[in-house]
Amino acid sequence: MSHPVVLEAISIVKELGEGAGKVRALKGVSLSLRAGELTLLMGPSGSGKTTLLSILGCILTPTSGSVRIGGEKIDGLDAEKLAGLRRRHIGFVFQSYNLFPTLTAIENVRLALDVRGMTHAETVAKAEAALKAVGLAHKLRSYPRNMSGGEQQRVAVARALAGAPSVILADEPTAALDSENGHAVMALLAQIAKDHDHAVLAVTHDPRTHAYADRIVRIEDGRIVGEDRRAEAHKNVKKYDITRKRKANA
């Protein structure tokens, strides 16, 4: 049985800039994300990946077309209502992690829960659980400056995961990581899609990530130009044991 669609974009057009500088970044993109699936969005620079990610993440609104997330339409919503949709439905993982350097790992995760209006006790419990889920139970009180790039990205994943969003959107999640950490983060995202029944969309250039995808969507010049759905049997995913890696590193 196929998983339900949690995010659906239909005929998205997005124009950026004004007057002579106006550019049509997306030219009628339609895309659905299902719970339990890790989808990769691939394409060359300037193809419209980030613009599409911004629209799917309720950061930008489309010039035309419609986006529906968790049953709610984003069309015509103002900035505050879009922020509300992001709180309820979206978790982000950024290329440069975007952690707060002055906050510890647990505080970074708690912050994402605090903006959702959770109580202190709830934020502590959920942040601890999320960091434990990404194998960072031993780094709760560490500051980003004292963590490796892979660990920082796992904190960012925990931050995205903690609010139990229906969709996790990752922007080049492995771009700043070495091979081993890149694999670790992709394995983690794939595992989160499966175990937590989230729809995960990762924008990437990194061919190392293919192995973890359920689906690869290719975008060029503002249009979806191809889609590969990968059978589970053909996926070359090694279950990544974070606990084992941590022990090995130690």
Partner: protein, 376 residues
């Protein structure tokens, strides 16, 4: 988490925090000193009026202040006032500037305050040496100890000359200072008239003591009708008139209040500048917060919390210095006064100043585009 994030942002850049705190600190000290001086000046101007026992003042028409009343009232006005129903007593006061000749040579200006203590109108208070009764001796006067040096005397028993008459210090007070810098010299009514060469029984003011339960406002109107060419003022009116004369007509009060406003402006600009640059430095973090779904109100609260924390820390440090200045000024000619009301007002003013300072930073984050998180 709002407070945690605000504290971490604030203490992350210690140099900037120090600049912010120094700005607030200087602002608070400046405002505290200016407003403390204002309160001190106010206290000096209204001290005599506040300590006089009487509900109404009869003054010559156009009297500008306690020190500038002229000596124009006559016994006729006193008798007319005494005839008004509701008047319990009418106490004459003679007040005038006079030349004080120092025993060692040289002279200075003083303010003679002549009143008979037995009338219960106005007598020296806060006595630290001698007595009011001793002042009743034929040449007796009382002066404040803060002016002993200015008057060229050392204490009780010293003699000097006022205009053409010889006087002897019989009592010393503490804390009765004069805004005009001309020391008050208390003496009896007739001694004052004699020293000043006042003709007959002329008087500067009549202090009207009202019978218990009498209608003061009604009595004022009655006295105004009975005493043409005079003004009948309540204590509050006479106080305000004196304040207006010395603080605002002379420009002294305007300078003090202007200094306080300048202090506030300087503080506001410094705090605004540092908050703005702090916000600019943390713009990516605020954009991340926005991308994570925070409302703009949440981010505004973080900035306001930063401003509030700066205000509290800056206020505590600033007040410590301001209180030290207040203590140091206690025995000077122009003491700075710090009251609980002024301390609370300064705290509220500091919070307000920091909140206003946060406006530019808030405007900056209001325009933040969460999409910038993808362009890092």
């Amino acid at each position: 988490m709002i407070l945690t994030l605000a504290i971490r942002n604030l203490f992350h850049d210690r140099i900037r925090l120090i600049v912010t705190l120094v700005g607030i600190l200087f602002s608070i000290v400046l405002v505290a000193v200016q407003l403390g001086l204002y309160l001190g000046a106010r206290q000096m101007i209204i001290g005599m009026i506040e300590n006089a026992q009487g509900e109404l003042w009869i003054t010559a028409y156009g009297a500008k202040s306690f020190e500038e009343g002229g000596i124009l009232l006559t016994p006729r006005e006193r008798h007319a006032a005494l005839a008004a129903p509701g008047v319990a007593a009418v106490v004459p006061l003679v007040v005038s500037f006079a030349e004080w000749r120092k025993p060692g040579g040289g002279s200075t200006t003083s303010v003679i305050v002549g009143a008979d203590p037995e009338d219960g109108g106005l007598e020296p208070w806060s006595l630290v040496e001698g007595s009011v009764a001793a002042m009743a001796a034929p040449d007796g006067i009382a002066v404040d100890r803060s002016y002993l040096g200015d008057l060229g005397i050392t204490g009780v028993g010293d003699t000097a000359q006022i205009e053409q008459g010889r006087v002897r210090v019989r009592a010393i007070t503490d804390g009765i200072r004069s805004f005009t810098m001309a020391p008050y010299v208390f003496t009896t009514l007739n001694r004052a008239r004699s020293l000043l060469g006042v003709p007959g029984e002329n008087t500067t003011f009549f202090l009207v003591q009202v019978e218990p339960g009498a209608d003061v406002e009604g009595l004022r109107k009655d006295l105004a009708a009975r005493l043409p060419g005079t003004e009948i003022l309540t204590k509050a009116e006479f106080r305000d008139r004196s304040l207006d004369q010395w603080l605002f007509s002379t420009g002294a009060g305007v300078a003090l209040i202007g200094g306080a406003i300048l202090g506030l402006l300087v503080g506001t600009v410094i705090v605004a500048q540092t908050l703005y640059s702090s916000t600019k430095d943390h713009l990516n973090e605020f954009a991340t917060l926005r991308a994570l779904g925070s409302s703009s109100g949440y981010i505004h609260k973080v900035i306001l919390a930063q401003a509030g924390l700066s205000a509290v820390i800056g206020y505590v440090l600033g007040m410590m210095i301001a209180l030290a200045v207040v203590v140091l000024s206690t025995h000077t000619a122009l003491p700075i006064i710090m009251t609980p009301g002024l301390a609370v007002s300064l705290f509220l003013l500091t919070l307000f100043m920091c909140a206003i300072s946060a406006v530019s930073a808030i405007m900056k984050v209001t325009k933040i585009d969460p999409a910038m998180v993808f362009s890092r």
